[in-house]
């Protein structure tokens, strides 16, 4: 684990971080983290969800400043960077979600806000000069499209090339790619990796953040592993391999803590079955999955592995592109979420504020919404019936609010999540799908939500829990299904539970 084997080791680093610490209320996001990036070096940065990668990116982008520690860029030491400072010193980002104007052409995107202007009072854009400036940049990223192409017509990989060309146009010396390949098909990924190699050849440094470890293996000169906000280890070119990275990501110490917490339960009958179901996001990857009554099936996988998309199909929001869904052995045709709700399939969505609840409505109005006709006489809403149902859920779930007439927008995240749960618990769930049910929720409320899920399972409900929190998946589930690039890569029974096994399946390898 050293990098004496690389020739660039001798040169001075372009960027170095020293004992950087960043805390948020209640969380230490980065704890004494140090790393160096040398000119022309490709660094693979890996770590589980929540290991501190995004905080690190925010610090490098100048969006946030560290509490302590120093950042040295090009020989100058800083306490923290500003957005302008970061850009000015040649650090460029290519984010997972691209920041391109799809309605403009490639050239306009690359020099947006910095267009060459023609002389004269009108300050018209000098199109020919613009094209001259763009051409060499496109050549450097190996673009197979013209500067006049509309961004909307380009493939995702091509759009990323535009982003990289944009980074080159500000004379970037360090390009940070955040999960660039997570939504790319394989052939396109190869193109992108070639671009990274070309950047390296030009002496530009690259930080490549990815969950796809085999890609990291292919391009990185050095791998930096983050775990719980700390540097878990660095791997030199020769030591980079899959198992080493996974080992560092999980940490050896944790292994002992993983053991089956309870005796395995007798599995119930299959409630929801997916047979060769294909989601619109991964149309060529059929998914087979059974969710049994009385169990909590954990659905693990890395961000972008297609879990939420699968949940959307199960809940009737998206149509399946093929295959069949069965509920209690009968074929299920879902044209909308209303069809799923009518069958007793409920979803607690990932994005609480956008899709989970209506922030402007009261607790009572939110809870009664999916079952409003049952709270009405001759299709007039009965406020007393509504209040009664909501009061019951408020009591059972321990929703903390002055009254059930309180607007849900004023509640804390945990209480909002309980309202989402309450609206489904007030009906009779057969299958309950929870997508990241404890994200952004404090620890006390988390434990209550785990208890609720268990109570549901004990009452014979089939519970499907999507979670990126490894401890949650292992601690709460009866079985764990793991997704990798749109497919179920494996299903673990209780005696096979370990963070290592989940992670191996999540990156597409076989468990031990």
């Amino acid at each position: 684990m050293n990098y004496s084997d690389t020739s660039i080791a001798a040169t001075t680093p372009f960027l170095s971080l020293e004992s950087v610490r960043k805390t948020y209320p209640g969380v230490v996001a980065l704890d004494g983290f140090s790393m160096e990036v040398r000119p022309g070096e490709v660094i693979g940065l890996v770590g589980e969800n929540g290991a501190g990668k995004s905080t690190l990116m925010k610090i490098l982008g100048g969006v946030t400043t560290p509490d302590t520690g120093t950042i040295t860029v090009d020989g100058t030491a800083h306490k923290g960077l500003s957005v302008e400072g970061s850009l000015g010193s040649g650090i460029a980002f290519v984010h997972q979600e691209l920041n391109l104007f799809e309605n403009l052409d490639v050239a306009a995107n690359i020099f947006f806000g910095r267009e060459p202007l023609r002389a004269g009072p009108l300050k018209l854009v000098d199109r020919s000069k613009l094209r001259e400036m763009v051409a060499p940049l496109l050549k450097r990223v190996g673009a197979n499209f013209s500067a006049d192409a509309q961004v909307a017509d380009l493939s995702l990989a091509q759009q990323q090339m535009v982003e990289i060309a944009k980074a080159l146009s500000i004379k970037a010396r360090l390009v940070i790619l955040d999960e660039p390949t997570s939504s790319l098909p394989l052939a396109e990924t190869d193109k992108l990796l070639d671009v990274i190699k070309a950047l390296k050849a030009d002496g530009i440094s690259v930080i490549f953040i990815s969950h796809r470890l085999h890609e990291v293996e292919r391009v990185a000169d050095r791998v930096v592993v983050l775990r719980d906000g700390m540097l878990a280890g660095t791997l030199g070119k020769r030591d980079i391999n899959h198992d080493q990275m996974v080992k560092l990501m999980i940490g050896r110490m944790l292994k002992e803590r993983e053991k089956a917490s309870e005796a395995a339960r007798a599995p119930g009958a299959v409630a929801l079955a997916a047979k060769a179901v294909r989601t619109p996001t991964y149309p060529s990857r059929p998914v087979d999955l059974d969710v049994r009554r009385g169990e909590i099936l954990g659905l693990a996988g890395l961000v972008g592995s297609g879990r939420t998309e699968l949940a959307r199909v199960f809940f009737g929001i998206d149509g399946s592109l093929g295959g069949t869904l069965e509920l209690d052995g009968k074929t299920l045709v879902l044209g909308s979420a209303a069809d799923a709700v009518a069958q007793g399939i409920f979803l607690v969505p990932e994005d609480r504020k956008l899709t989970g609840i209506l922030l402007d409505l009261s607790i009572a109005q939110n809870i009664s919404l999916p079952n409003l006709p049952a709270h009405a006489r001759r299709s007039l809403v009965s406020a007393s019936a509504e209040t009664a149902t909501a009061e019951k859920q408020k009591r059972n779930l321990g929703i903390k609010a002055p009254s059930v007439q309180t607007r849900t927008g004023t509640l804390s995240g945990g209480n909002q999540q309980k309202v989402v749960l309450g609206k489904w618990l007030a009906m009779n769930p057969k299958v309950m799908i929870l997508d990241e049910p404890t994200r952004g929720i404090d620890i006390g409320a988390k434990a209550e939500i785990y208890g609720l899920m268990r109570a549901l399972a004990d009452a014979g409900v089939a519970v499907l829990m999507i979670s990126s929190d490894m401890e949650e998946v292992i601690g709460v589930s009866d079985r764990i299904a793991v997704m990798h690039e749109g497919q179920i890569s494996g299903i673990l029974d209780k005696d096979q539970f370990s963070q290592e096994n989940v992670l191996l399946l999540a990156v597409g390898k076989q468990p031990k």
């Binding site: 922030l359 402007d360 809403v381």
Partner: protein
Amino acid sequence: MSKKDLGLLILILVVGAIVAIINPRFLLPINLANTSNLIGLFGILSIGQAFVIITGGIELSVGSVVALLGTLFIDFIAVRELDWPLAFVLIIALGAIIGLVHGWLITRLKLQPFVVTLCGLLIYRGVARFYTADGTAGFAFGQNFPELEFLTAGRSYGVPNSFIALIVIAIVMWVVLHRSVFGRYLYAIGKNEEAAKYSGIRTGRIVMAAYVICGVLTALSAIYFAMYTRSISPASHGQFYELYAIAAAVLGGFSLRGGEGSLIGVILGTVLLQELQNLVNLLGIPSSLNFAVMGGVILIGVLVDQQWSVFRARRLMVDAARKNVAGAPAE
């Protein structure tokens, strides 16, 4: 009645009092009856518009629909000599079909409401003009429909029947909007269509129903307008009526983003608009300034409302901060 509605009511009374002091003819029974007749006609139209606006949509074709369906109604009873109740039902059904088609294009084919109804505005106006060969649709000399005329243009105890019709419709639609399951769905969809969908509401059908309601009420008002004017030149009849309806809703506290507004609000909005029209006439303001006065008042109204809510939000924040400071030592 919300505070917003109350504020609007006070504004209506204050403006009324000022106009009455300057020109006492404002309070003459004949003037009040005329004004309330117009309130009835435009009110029915505006309630329909309100149901669409609450979903976050807009219906720009109502003026042209008033022209087309009014022309057809007169043609049906005066030229084709259909029984008027039959013609009445046909016109209402046509209104419902127009609403259904708009709703279908918007929810199923995902077209924007503005675009769909703008095309409607052009199409129906063109069809109406073509239907009469750009002539005028009217009754022949001596043609009389006593019952129909009584119901639409007549008066009971001095009150125009169109105004009474508005009151009845307003009460029914108030219950639908503020008390029914359907009304709750409308508000939920207007506030956040995605979240409503994730709660298992068939949002497409509900939005379509809102356009059908708008179509039916527009058709009804088209009949009232036709019987009020008794002769229709389709090139100009009903022009800008969609804007009157939208203005009434906006004045009444509706947000064009959807999910906000009350039925009382849209009625009061209509009343204020007609009062302003009347004011222009009675105070001797050149009638060419009519639209300018209306636009100015709406702008001021929306501005005051906006500033008032900013002020209130700020005061709430200051109050909360004060409470925290006061409560801190106790903890």
